[in-house]
Every structure is written in structure tokens, then in C-alpha cells.
């Protein structure tokens, strides 16, 4: 096993290189900066494009431009920088060009701090700017998974001509873990896609736009986008489970919290509590069907996030009234550790036993 120790941010960068990214545009922001710095070193070595943009706004629009040429390209940032990219993301989605974005989340709102957080769920999973669409959102829990997801993200982006966002947090970006790096993909050769802007040589000129002055045509675009999203929903759902087979209680958590919850599950099991973990890997498309199926078999759900309850709403939509849904959220850069999760779990189990009608009760501290 050829594993080497990689820092999350750098591993993401290296995986992107191996996946064939040909251009990187970015702007420094903690806790994501090592990704940019790694690209600054390696892209020129490989004869590819690295450019530090003057801002996140410029970065996303440079990415937009490169994407229009059918070239695999990406940017990365952290929460406030992602807020600045919302307009650009909406343009990219409407234009149907492939783009990969990494968001290594930090504490908010506002300037907040640089500690890990999951406060971007809403803005990344629900909206990403004005209009109707969702990006494909991948939430790795380990550095290896970050690498693996990054490695396929360009394929997804090109397959659907869509935005793929890798959503991590400061922990993932800063930690080191042993990683098996995938091989370098052959990136040269191959015609640019049939929609790409390359110069109208010997063919009619092509246009990439997000402007549709007629309401009918803009609705048609939207229906097409919705149809595409439906296809993605059908084909691209990813999730992971731990000990769910006989679980009576279920933790739902993503990313770093997902892996931490795994420890909590193992510890709880040693005390005889039949707990399992459901970890969505694609936050959009959210693994609704898969979670739904599990709900039939458990007595209560605990959602754990590093926010005030954002994915929680998606879980509630799936669970409906069938079992109680509890929530444990830590914010501002505090990471919920197994020691926090276990009491919340016990509360859930206790409450479930005592009064069954109870629905949601935040257990923040």
C-alpha cells in the first residue's frame, strides 16, 4: 500500500493535478491557503496555469472564462470567499460549463474566525446564488476521501456540464493522513467539447451565455436544468454507513463531523447502545431515499453538525414525523467530539423511551 502522509489542502491540490486540472485561480484565505500555495508550486512545473486572482470575485469569473473553453479548471476558497462567488456560481450554472470549487469552511457569520465550521451548508447546498439550481456537493470526511472525490469531480463536472463543489472544513484542510494517491490521468489529446469556445475556425461561431430575454426561453433553460438535476439525483447519490444494520438509533452527520461521529458510534456500541451512522457524501443530491429506508428501522435520529442546524432541515424533510429528530450543533469553530455526542445520544435514547411524541430538541451544549 503506497500510502503517504498528506495534508488535506495539499492532497486536494495534488489529486486535482492528477485528475487533470489545467488551470487554477484562487485567492488566499485561511484555512484553505495551502491548496493555493501548493498549486503555485506545482502548476507551473507541469506547464499548467496557476493564477492568483485579485479577489474571489475575479477568481470565480476567471474560472468561468476558462470553463467556457472546455478546459478542466478549479478554484478554492473558504466561507467569506465563497459568499463573494455566489453571483459567479449562478452564471456558471446557467451557462452549463463545468467547474470545480473547493470550499474549506470556517467559522461565521461575518469575519468570524478561521476555525472549522459547517456554516456554508445552506449557501452551498441550497442556493449558491440566485435562481434555481443546485451544485453537486461532495463532502469528504477523510483526506483519502477528499482525494478520491476530487479525482472524480472533473469527470462529474464535464459529464453534466455543471458545478461540483467539494465541501470540507478547516479540520480536513489542515490535517494530515496517509493517502494513496491515484495515478496521473492522461490530460492531453482529446478534442475540446463540442460546445467549447475555441475560435470559430471552419465552423459557425459559438456563444456561451446565461441571458435569455424571453421568459419562455428562460423557462425552457430552467426546465432543462431541472431535468439535468433530476438525472444527477438519479445517478450520483453517495453516502456511507457505519453499523446501521441493527441500529436502533441513527446519527446523521457529514464531513469531519461524520468521521468523529464514527468514533462516537464505536464508543456507544461498547456501552451496548445500538447506534449507527448515516453519512451523506453527496449533500446535493441528498441521499433521501437511502436515509428514508433506514428511518423505517430506527427509533430516533441525532443530527450532529458544526452549525445551528442546516442539514438538519433536509433530514427533517426525509424523516417526517416517523421518529424523533434531535440535534447537536457546535458553532464558531468548536468541534463536537465524541464526548459531546455521547451525552446527546443518551438524551435521545432516554427521551425516546420516555415520551415518544417529541420531535426536535437542540442540545447545543
Amino acid at each position: 500500500m503506497a500510502k503517504t502522509l498528506w495534508k488535506g489542502n495539499e492532497a486536494l491540490a495534488e489529486a486535482a493535478l492528477r485528475a487533470g486540472v489545467k488551470a487554477f485561480f484562487g485567492y488566499p484565505i485561511t484555512p484553505q491557503t495551502e491548496l493555493l500555495e501548493y498549486m503555485a508550486r506545482r502548476m507551473p512545473e507541469l506547464g499548467r496555469v496557476f493564477l492568483q486572482a485579485e479577489s474571489e470575485l475575479a477568481a470565480i469569473n476567471m474560472l468561468y472564462g476558462t470553463a467556457c473553453t472546455g478546459t478542466p479548471a478549479m478554484t478554492s476558497s473558504s466561507s467569506p470567499g465563497i459568499s463573494l462567488m455566489q453571483e459567479g456560481l449562478s452564471y456558471i450554472a446557467a451557462s452549463e460549463v463545468p467547474a470545480v470549487i473547493v470550499d474549506i469552511m470556517r467559522g461565521g457569520p461575518g469575519l468570524g474566525n478561521i476555525q472549522p465550521s459547517q456554516g456554508d451548508y445552506f449557501q452551498v447546498v441550497k442556493s449558491a446564488g440566485h435562481g434555481d439550481y443546485h451544485a453537486i456537493v461532495l463532502a469528504p470526511a477523510t483526506v483519502q476521501e477528499a482525494v478520491d472525490l476530487m479525482y472524480i469531480s472533473f469527470d462529474l463536472a464535464f459529464k453534466y456540464r455543471h458545478i461540483v463543489i467539494i465541501l470540507g472544513d478547516g479540520t480536513l484542510g489542515q490535517m494530515m493522513e496517509p493517502v494513496e494517491m491515484p495515478p496521473f490521468k492522461e490530460v492531453n489529446g482529446g478534442e475540446p467539447p463540442a460546445w467549447a469556445l475555441t475560435g470559430a475556425a471552419g465552423r459557425p461561431h459559438r456563444v456561451i451565455t446565461s441571458l435569455y430575454l424571453s421568459a419562455e426561453r428562460l423557462e425552457a433553460l430552467n426546465l432543462h436544468l431541472q431535468e439535468k438535476l433530476a438525472r444527477i439525483k438519479e445517478n450520483e447519490v453517495r453516502y456511507d454507513t457505519t453499523m446501521v444494520e441493527d441500529a436502533e438509533y441513527l446519527i446523521v452527520a457529514f464531513g469531519t463531523v461524520g468521521r468523529i461521529a464514527q468514533s462516537a458510534v464505536r464508543q456507544a456500541r461498547t456501552t451496548g447502545l445500538k447506534v449507527g451512522l448515516f453519512r451523506p457524501i453527496t449533500l446535493w443530491p441528498f441521499p433521501e431515499r437511502e436515509l428514508d429506508a433506514l428511518i423505517e428501522r430506527v427509533q430516533g435520529v441525532l443530527v450532529v453538525e458544526m452549525n445551528a442546524g442546516q442539514m438538519l432541515e433536509d433530514v427533517q424533510r426525509v424523516v417526517k414525523d416517523r421518529v424523533p429528530v434531535h440535534f447537536l450543533g457546535r458553532m464558531g469553530g468548536i468541534i463536537p467530539l465524541p464526548d459531546d455526542i455521547l451525552p446527546a445520544l443518551h438524551t435521545l435514547c432516554g427521551l425516546v423511551r420516555s415520551r415518544n411524541g417529541h420531535r426536535v430538541r437542540p442540545v447545543p451544549a
Binding site: L57, Y64, A200, H205, L211
Partner: protein, 272 residues
């Protein structure tokens, strides 16, 4: 049948034969599509489009040119050129063009931007494209206001000029002085060519074309960014007839925005 024998009525009746034999002094450039433009009658955007198309034709770069259209009255510019084109977000054309040019360095990339687009919301992107010396050509159409949204004040609006958002006339103490952004951009070493031209008379239009050519040559020859600011009329929002609007450009705008070259890279100087 010799041409001299043709009487004009004959020409009129069989123009295809007769005209073919004549010397074509001016014809529609290949770089323009057949589409009718949506611009108001007399709007200079159309003139500027044509000049760009003529230059593209003459430089023989149509098949390797990529245009970036702005948000503004020229938002549909991509429908009027027979080159590949992308539509940028408001103000971000230079960033988008940078993204294109960096991965396709042998293509010719130009942006077409209004004064609201380039000199207001998009100042950051144009400044830094210039600072980096991106090999881009920028056609900057200054009509002293926001045409598309109905005539609001722009940073380029003249002192005292009434617009829908400066209803009492632009007050320089409240709203500042007209922005001479091209002069500012010209200061940067990354800019190889920077000039201001106008559309208010045939001779000016010819000079504007020459400047557009140099702004493309700056890119083609790898010298740096080339930018031409072109004073342009907006009869509709000025509430003037097309001819009055050109007079407004000549009499009101040119005194505030002097025409001329602000930066000519020495490698271009011979051609200027």
C-alpha cells in the same frame, strides 16, 4: 459590356451584374453576423461594432478570436459577431477574458465594455488585468451613463449632467468628478496601448478604427493589454436626436475627455 457603357438606370435594374464589375469601396465585414442589432437608431454601439469587425477582418484573426460581451446595452454583442463569444457578469469581462486567454494563449481575446461595466462595478477587474499585463484587447464604450437600465449616472457622467439618478445634475461635491480611467490605466506597465477616441464625426471614426487596430496588435504581438476608450452617443437616454447626440459628444464630452493616445508601446509607435 464595359462598365462605362452602363447607364445608371441599367445599374439599378441589374445591380448584381453591374455592381460586381465595380470597385467595392465598402462592404459588410465578415466578422459581423447578418443579425439586425437591437440598438436604438443612431446609437454609436453599432458603429463601434462595425469598426471592430473591420479590424478583425483586416487582421485575418476572425477564426481565432473570442469575444467577451458585457452586461450593458451591448449585452447581446455576441449575436452580432461571427466569432466565438461569451457573455460575462456585470463588470467581470476582464476576469473572464483572462480565464480564456490564459488557457488559449494563441487565441485573440477581446472584451467589449460600457462605462458602467468597466469604470464602475468592474474597476477592480480591469485594473488588475492591466496590472498583470494580460494579453487582451479592451474596447471601452463611454456614453456617460448606464444606457441599458434607462440612463442612470455613471462615474463618467459629466459635471452637471442630468440623469435619472442625478436628477439635479451631477454635483461633483456629492458624486465626484468624472473618472478618467483610461489615463489611469495607461500608467501601468502592463498596458501596451491606451487611447481615447470618439464617434462624433467620420474622421474621428476612422481614427477610432486605427486605435482599435493598435489595441489588437498590442495583444497579437504580445506587448501587453490594449485598451481604447471610445466616446459614444446615447441619443435615447440623452433625449437628443442622433445628430444632436453626436454634437453632444463633440461639444460636451470631448472637452472633459480629451482624445488622444495615452500610452503607445514603442513596438507599436511606428504603426500609430
Amino acid at each position: 459590356m464595359a462598365i462605362a457603357e452602363l447607364t445608371p438606370p441599367q445599374i439599378a435594374s441589374r445591380p448584381e451584374v453591374a455592381l460586381a464589375a465595380m470597385q467595392v469601396v465598402y462592404k459588410r465585414p465578415e466578422a459581423l453576423t447578418e443579425a439586425y442589432t437591437h440598438y436604438c437608431p443612431g446609437c454609436s454601439h453599432g458603429v463601434i461594432h462595425r469598426l471592430i469587425a473591420e479590424v478583425i477582418d483586416e487582421l485575418g484573426i476572425r477564426e481565432r478570436t473570442i469575444a467577451v460581451a458585457p452586461v450593458g446595452c451591448a449585452v447581446l454583442a455576441y449575436e452580432y459577431f461571427t466569432v466565438d463569444a461569451a457573455e460575462a457578469a456585470h463588470g467581470r469581462a476582464p476576469a473572464m477574458a483572462t480565464g480564456i486567454k490564459r488557457v488559449l494563449p494563441d487565441r485573440i481575446v477581446f472584451t467589449y465594455q460600457g462605462d458602467g461595466d468597466l469604470a464602475s462595478i468592474g474597476t477592480n477587474e480591469i485594473v488588475h488585468a492591466c496590472a498583470r499585463g494580460e494579453l487582451l484587447t479592451v474596447i471601452f464604450v463611454n456614453n456617460s451613463l448606464y444606457g441599458m437600465t434607462g440612463g442612470q449616472m455613471a462615474p463618467t457622467t459629466l459635471p452637471g449632467q442630468v440623469t435619472t439618478s442625478s436628477p439635479y445634475g451631477r454635483d461633483i461635491r456629492q458624486q465626484g468628478w468624472p473618472l478618467h480611467i483610461t489615463e489611469m490605466l495607461a500608467m501601468m506597465p502592463g498596458v501596451a496601448y491606451a487611447a481615447r477616441r470618439s464617434t462624433h464625426a467620420p474622421a474621428e471614426i476612422r481614427k477610432a478604427k486605427k486605435a482599435i487596430e493598435l489595441a489588437f496588435r498590442a495583444q497579437i504581438e504580445g506587448l501587453g493589454l490594449g485598451i481604447v476608450e471610445i466616446l459614444s452617443s446615447c441619443p435615447t437616454n440623452w433625449g437628443l436626436s442622433p445628430m444632436e447626440a453626436l454634437a453632444f459628444v463633440r461639444d460636451k464630452m470631448v472637452p472633459v475627455y480629451p482624445l488622444g493616445d495615452f500610452k503607445v508601446h514603442q513596438a507599436l509607435a511606428a504603426r500609430a
